[in-house]
Amino acid sequence: MHRGGAPRIRFERRLEQPRWLSIASPFILVAAALAVGAALLALVGAAPLVVYGRMAEIAFGSAYGWSDTTIKATPLILAGLGVSIAFKMRLWNIGAEGQLFIGAWCATGVALFLMPKDTPQALMLLAMGLAGFIGGAFWGFIPGVLKAKLNINEIITTLMLTYVAFQWNNFFVYGPWSQRGFGLTEQFPKSAWMPRFTDFGKIFPAFQGMTAHFGILLAVILAVFLWFVWRRSKWGFGVKIIGDNPRAARYAGINLTRNIIVVMMLSGGLAGIAGMVEVSGVVHRLQERFSPGYGYTAIIIAWLAKLNPLAIILVSYLFGGLLVGGDAIQPAGIAGMLQGVILFVVVGGESMLQYRIRVER
């Protein structure tokens, strides 16, 4: 049985990735993703270069553009950090969107019903942040326990709980907390507003009109802190071992059950803070759909940043810009489509760069 001598194309894994390639690869991949996105845009009848140009200009072309991009990047960084913690241990928490909603719901409850309106701003924000963290952490705790104790697939549970969170949120914004039956609550008291840069416009004129809020500072601080935790802490080292080989981790005396639950809670908690920051800094109330899928975009960001907390800041700005630019572009949904394309191209491309293509006779 001969299969003839026709040449076959084979992918051969490289033994060592050349240095130039590891430096160049992110750029090659982003360029490839943009090219594929352009092809798709052309296919659906848009002019790719015009669309890209407009989006870039709107997102990064002016100080206000940067401010708007910062607003979008803030929850993305926080949720991205959250997702990255779980991914580090190869736990696929893809329910950050739901954790974000529950975090926002808890923060709202604190702002509107638990704390008096005249609570000092710092205290109020602290309480809301804590509530957001606890809410998100609880939403991560459920799949965490199910995974740790019963080995139930966390991909499914985190996502199912996201849909539950939407309905939970809807019940309140249309029901008990609703303002006249619309899908939103009443506005928070000013003490529950995250300070915005424009609030300091009188002192620093350059900040005038900049609606970006101080959540970005929190996000950056947490990113740096997490970076330090991965590099220098015992706990971070343990998580790293579990992520690489859970059996070796157990063998080395690391408690898998406890770490799975803790990591899922931290992961959810950071997404919950993202939700708190969004309601406190941007919308100033709870709404039916206040997030344009930050929790899903966070998955892409964490992956593209290779789970490096500092890189997450950078990538979040890129995707923040994509969201800002996408909002101004027709047809709607282009931003979402490009996100999928980018992740797909990067996932495939990253593997492809590990291969040499060889034609075999």
Partner: protein, 316 residues
């Protein structure tokens, strides 16, 4: 509540569960072959939007169905290439597929959102059988796509457990090296089953937009692709159990509509939001039940699920 309530509920369950059933069976084939594809949601959405669009522009719902099969297959081919040939992480690739499908379907479907009159697949009460009390309305008074689903589950079961290619399918997901040394083309078969799984997911999407909830809305699958993923585990990779799970899910998914006419819900319409949580909580419950059961009976996933197959690597 009388008997007719349950008859209506079960009939609706079979109807509403059909889309999920196709997707679940498709995923069973892919996973049996050793490839996890968590991109079902994306493939379903693309299937739904392209089927609806094709039916609208050509006036033929069957063409819509065909287009959905092709689109689902093409998307799965992407996943197959990235995970089988390039050996990228199957979870991440599947997530990318979902996000891509969600975004792309929204862009493609933007002009279709206003369309309300695309042709649908026909309903077809089976003469004679549909008149049987109780069983008639439950099984024999449906849209044609529902009958296809009712037939698909036993056929898939027979194929997997009782045929030669089905035996090979089970082997390549369980121990691909063993299949390989016996001359079974592991890579090619994995491609075929992943693509076939994608086609069924596309079909599931088309079943939604052309028959079950006949219109196109952005994100209309509402997590059914993810639910299919859970049902595969609940079903222990067995299509007959998948049918049970999908139809149960359908009945519970339909429950909010029935409940809203009860006095309690009429007085408190917001309670409907809790009713809408039920399908998702139901899936979590199923997972818990099957986790305990599988632990006891030692029924696990195909052993090689999630692992790329490589032949030419130096062993010990």
């Amino acid at each position: 509540m009388d008997l007719s309530f349950f008859v209506v509920l079960l009939a609706a369950g079979i109807r509403y569960g059909t889309g999920t059933l196709f997707a679940t069976i498709g995923e069973i084939f892919a996973e049996r072959a050793g490839v996890l594809n968590v991109g079902i949601e994306g493939m379903m959405l693309m299937g739904a939007v392209t089927a609806y669009g094709a039916a609208y522009y050509t006036g033929n719902p069957w063409l819509g169905l065909l287009v959905a099969l092709i689109v689902g297959g093409v998307m799965a081919l992407l996943h197959a290439f990235v995970t089988i040939t390039l050996r990228a992480d199957q979870v991440v690739s599947g997530l990318a597929l979902t996000l891509l499908g969600a975004g792309l379907s929204a862009v493609i479907g933007a002009p279709l959102v206003e369309v309300r009159d695309a042709p649908q697949l026909p309903a077809f009460p089976i003469p004679g059988l549909a008149q049987i009390p109780i069983l008639g309305p439950i099984f024999f008074d449906h849209n044609v796509i529902v009958y296809i689903g009712l037939l698909a589950a036993p056929i898939a079961w027979w194929y997997i457990y009782r045929t030669r290619p089905g035996m090979e399918l089970r082997a390549i997901g369980e121990y691909p090296a063993a299949a390989d040394v016996l001359g079974i083309a592991v890579i090619r078969q994995r491609y075929l089953y992943v693509i076939f799984g994608g086609m069924l997911a596309g079909l599931g999407g088309a079943a939604l937009s052309l028959a079950i909830t006949p219109l196109w809305v952005e994100g209309m699958t509402a997590g059914q692709g993810w639910i299919a993923l859970g049902l595969v585990i609940f079903a222990s990779w067995n299509p007959l159990r998948a049918a049970l799970g999908a139809y149960l899910f359908g009945a519970i998914g339909r429950l909010p509509l029935d409940l809203q006419n009860l006095p309690l819900f009429l007085a408190n319409p917001q309670l409907g939001y809790f009713a809408r949580m039920l399908p998702y909580l139901f899936v979590i419950l199923l997972m818990i039940i099957s986790a305990r059961g599988n632990m006891r009976r030692r029924i696990g996933a195909p052993a090689a699920l999630g692992q790329p197959y490589v032949r030419e690597e130096r062993g010990a």
